[in-house]
């Protein structure tokens, strides 16, 4: 019986102890009219058959082991050191629950505390939570915090159009039941245009860094203007880019959110990923989701515990600002291991590889007749290419050559028809990049 260990004799003995003749009797409270319906599911399979089927299904996908990947747009193909998976495979980590009982959960608690610490280090913020579902929901939760900071008095949220389109969709989904206005992202507004929109009703302004097009906007003066208007500056940052570029904390952000998938989490068709959330000290008690804090045990020994619990739904119930409960714990552990391995020097090196390779690729493509790369601003590991024909045609040709090309921006941005967002990481060798350019040029 698969994962059920009962033998008939044991079942018998247990039923006797309970005082029933069969398990059917235990369901007497279920309306008899609806009790024990048929289930039309496939027949059971043995482990070896399921393993074979999973392999077959997985191989019906075009994946990064068989294809050269030049696609990012919010999900990045980075190298993950083998140690990460070996540690994640320890049952002590992945088969544990949320650390509600700290005495027997110090492993998870300390690792999460270390994750929080390293996310603070990356973002330049004072505190980070234990995770949100992903970058998009993390942004949506930041909106809630910003609204709360204004005690509900400010109702305007400004989003840059250069924030990941799906993130903006999620913000709208999350706040559809609230009486607020989300603006700024319908047009092609630059940062400067967004600052124009600030007013006394603005709770926050959010920018992406690097933005969805891979570019690093100049944010030097932004924080000041936002703060002057009494609003919060929220920065959606790719944590991998923070290996090189000035931290959002240094730029004056109040909340930094984003997708930490690049830090040791595989592409995995979009999830589970890791929404990170970091904030200034003064707003820390408004943070949603779990947070681990340091304390002492009864013997005076350092230990860790979930803290600020009274904010959470299980205690505050309808007065909680978020309902989040289960988060992305194991992915935070993955990021923790990844960052520990990479460390200060390793992460910077990865950042540099991304930067140099992307710039090399951009140059190669920019030289191709009919193509042009937007080099108007500095960029990290992604850039926009204006193409001489539909992106889908180019990608079809690339696929034939074992290459998954860039992301088609047309469906999301009216002004970017036939524009492709190309991503280059440390996983792309020079030969691969050259081949990409060659195939694109040969069309």
């Amino acid at each position: 019986m698969s994962y059920i260990p009962h033998t008939p004799a044991e079942t018998e003995a247990m039923l006797r102890e309970i005082g029933v003749r069969s398990t059917d009797q235990l369901f007497e409270a279920v309306p008899v009219t609806h009790r024990f319906p048929g289930l039309s599911l496939p027949s059971p399979l043995s482990e070896m058959e399921v393993a074979a089927e999973m392999l077959a299904i997985s191989e019906a996908n075009d994946h990064g082991q068989d294809y050269a990947l030049f696609r990012g747009a919010g999900a990045y193909h980075h190298f993950i050191p083998s140690v990460v998976n070996h540690m994640l495979l320890r049952g002590e980590f992945y088969t544990a629950y949320t650390p509600y009982q700290p005495e027997i959960s110090q492993g998870t608690l300390q690792a999460t505390y270390e994750y929080q610490s390293m996310m603070c280090a990356l973002t330049g913020m004072d505190a980070a939570n234990a995770s949100h579902y992903d970058g998009a929901t993390s942004l949506a939760e930041a909106v809630t915090v910003a609204l709360q900071v204004s005690r509900g008095r400010r109702k305007k949220v400004i989003l840059s159009h250069a924030i990941h389109p799906q993130y903006r969709e999620v913000v709208r989904s999350y706040h559809q039941g609230r009486d607020i206005r989300i603006i700024g992202d319908r047009g092609r507004g630059e940062v400067i245009d967004l600052l124009e929109m600030l007013d006394g009703n603005t709770a926050m302004l959010a920018l992406q860094y690097p933005n969805f097009f891979g570019q690093i906007d100049d944010l030097t003066a932004v924080a000041e203007e936002v703060h002057e208007a009494g609003a919060l500056l929220v920065i959606v940052a790719n944590p991998m880019a923070l290996s090189l570029f000035r931290s959002p904390g240094e730029l004056g952000a109040d909340i930094v959110v984003g997708e930490a998938q690049p830090l040791g989490v595989p592409l995995g068709f979009g999830g589970p990923y890791l929404g990170y959330f970091a904030i200034r000290q003064k707003f820390v008690r408004r943070i949603a989701g779990r947070i681990i804090g340091e304390t002492l045990d009864a013997d005076g020994k350092r230990a860790f515990v979930m803290t600020l619990r009274p904010r959470e739904q299980d205690i505050k119930r309808e007065r909680a600002s978020s309902n989040i409960c289960t988060n992305q714990g194991l992915m935070a552990l993955a990021a923790s291991i990844y960052l520990a391995l990479m460390g200060k020097n390793g992460l910077r090196k990865v950042g540099e590889l991304n930067y140099h390779k992307a710039h090399y690729a951009a140059e190669q493509i920019n030289q191709l007749p009919g193509y042009s790369v937007d080099m108007s601003k500095p960029f990290f590991n992604e850039f926009v290419v204006a193409c001489p024909r539909p992106v889908s045609e180019i990608n079809a040709a690339l696929l034939e050559e074992g290459i998954i090309g860039g992301y088609d921006l047309g469906p999301h941005y009216f002004h970017l028809q036939d524009h492709m967002l190309v991503c280059v990481t440390e996983m792309n060798g020079k030969a691969e990049i050259d081949r990409l350019a060659e195939v694109m040029g040969g069309l």
Partner: protein, 532 residues
């Protein structure tokens, strides 16, 4: 021994990984944009391994023993599923792969949608929500939008029993709606009188719906569930089922057939995906035809039927008819190698694609849900199949009732009925007032067990919510009963032993007040130079 922090292992110049040299010409870095400091630790690979291995040893986990945490369904996490999740065809699949290039993944999601629908009696399922709470949020937003679309803007109240999980009321607030709490009656059912009063009184027109957990968070099947549903429907509200306790329902009753309109599943409970020390989860949402068009997106549908099949089934791209899921020829058939052909996809297979339901409440997260959990749930259901899924519930309920029958001799059982997959005891020993549920829980650690859920549901004093799950063997249940009985005895003879427990865990009880007051959330070396 105190486990050092990862920063304590740091020494300038160390690194835990070798990276390749750059094989392209270096581009100039924009110096004005570069950061100066990056206060990450510098640790060697060997040390990193040891650090995390040692941390892991401080955890209790399912892989080492019984984890009877009520409401959490801590069942065994099959290793098979972990291997499947790590196949390169899944782990290295980009979420924005063009439709043609991810037919395997789409097929799997499509099947899983159909199977979850079949198990719960709902024609439509969306896999996008990332956890139970997000599933709730989606479901309540769907109900909200449904009423708005019918012009019933005034419907803003969601009824929630007082035994509900905290996520339920919090969800209602997030959706911009209002919670109205309902008490339980003496049997642990929703108090029908109070419910009818709410539904028939002044607020009738404001009732948007009700959220209810089945079986309840007390582990009890509401014996009046049909009346509850009727009453709410009668008032024009819709019924949301919190499916966290689905492990007590599979093959026993289909929520959709009972009359529920929408529910969420916790794949990380019922369908064995690992809890991961706090996640990830997966909170798929299922619903009936009334609400199908409001599901969060994207969902997976058939966008092109195989050319060889006749008559062509309606194209899901055109009409979002999720109900076609369960009667598709392909559904529920073992796929064997049919998907695996030279071109990657069999010619006879339909083409799957992502669809946005017509009136969707939108996206709940980027991309399309926690796919890594979908594939594990798929493998899990595949193992049990039609004849086995009901066994999961049968044995989960058997195990819970066995513990209930044995433990009610030494602890007070507030609701003396057959329970579902879990039951609640009062963690209180008569005559020993200083001993609380928490003390009993901490003492269980010394006996080598993870404690039950404490102080939930809130309506039972000193609640100990116990859920063994079906994967536990009788010997271990017996050992747990022995420990609980000995603890009851100790409470009488040596209460200090309990009050100071645990004695053998890696740490003693923690000062939680200090943690919240001092708020040390980030270790000093991680602080950027400015703020440090």
């Amino acid at each position: 021994m105190l486990q050092p922090l990862i920063y304590d292992h740091s020494s300038p110049g160390r690194s835990g990984v070798n990276l390749p040299d750059c094989d392209v010409p270096a581009a100039p870095l924009p110096s004005e944009l570069m950061r100066d400091d990056l206060p990450l630790p510098e640790v060697g690979e060997v040390q990193v391994v040891r650090h995390f291995v040692k941390l892991s040893k401080l955890n209790y986990s399912i892989d080492q023993g019984l984890y009877p945490l009520g409401s959490c369904t801590m069942k065994y996490n099959p290793k098979l599923n972990e291997d499947a999740a790590r196949l390169p065809g899944f782990a290295q699949l980009h979420p924005l792969t063009d439709e043609d290039g991810c037919q395997g993944a789409l097929f799997l999601m499509h099947e899983l949608q159909a199977w979850l629908g079949e198990i719960s009696g709902f024609p439509a399922v969306s896999l996008t929500p990332a956890a139970g709470a997000q599933g709730e949020f989606a479901g309540i937003l769907m109900i909200r939008q449904y009423h708005l679309d019918r012009g019933e803007n005034q419907r803003d109240i969601i009824l929630v029993p007082d035994s509900a999980h905290g996520t339920n009321p919090a969800t209602v607030t997030m959706a911009g709606m209002t919670v109205r709490e309902l008490p339980a009656d003496a049997q642990g059912n929703v108090d029908l009188g109070a419910l009818r009063a709410a539904c028939e009184g002044d607020l009738r027109e404001r009732i948007a719906g009700m959220m209810i957990t089945v079986p309840s968070t007390l582990g009890l099947f509401e014996s009046t569930i049909l009346e509850v549903i009727d009453a709410v429907h009668e008032a024009g509200g819709l019924m949301y089922m919190d499916g966290a306790n689905m492990n007590a329902l599979m093959g026993v009753v289909k929520p959709g057939e009972l009359g529920f309109d929408v529910m969420h599943y916790n794949l990380h409970k019922t369908f064995s995906t690992p809890h991961g020390g706090g996640g990830p989860g997966s909170g798929a949402v299922g619903c009936n035809a009334l609400l199908a068009a409001y599901l969060p997106g994207p969902v997976v549908g058939i966008v092109e039927q195989p050319p060889t099949k006749s008559p062509p089934i309606k194209n899901e791209r055109d009409v979002f008819a999720m109900s076609s899921y369960t009667d598709e020829a392909n559904s529920g058939q073992p796929i064997g190698s049919s998907l695996q052909s030279e071109s990657g996809v069999d010619n006879e297979a339909p083409l799957y694609g992502f669809l946005m339901p017509e009136k969707s409440i939108g996206r709940m997260k980027a991309f399309h849900g926690n796919f890594g959990m979908h594939l594990r749930a798929y493998a899990y259901i595949r193992v049990y199949g039609d004849s086995g899924i009901r066994d999961v519930t049968r044995y989960a309920v058997l195990n819970a009732n066995y513990l209930r029958a044995r433990l009610m001799r030494s602890y007070r059982l507030p609701y003396p009925r057959y329970c579902g997959h879990e039951f609640v005891l009062e963690g209180h020993i008569d005559g020993v007032d200083e001993v609380h549920a928490l003390d009993i829980s901490k003492r269980l650690m010394d006996y080598g067990f993870h404690p039950p859920t404490n102080y939930f549901p809130l309506i039972v004093p000193e609640a100990l919510l116990i859920e063994p799950t079906e994967t536990e063997v009788k010997e271990d249940l017996d050992a747990f009963v022995d420990a609980m009985e000995r603890i009851a005895e100790e409470a009488r003879t040596e209460p200090e032993t309990l009050l100071n427990a645990p004695h053998t865990a890696p740490v003693r009880r923690l000062d939680e007040v200090k943690a919240a007051r001092e708020l040390v959330l980030c270790c000093a070396p991680a602080k950027p130079i400015a703020s440090a």
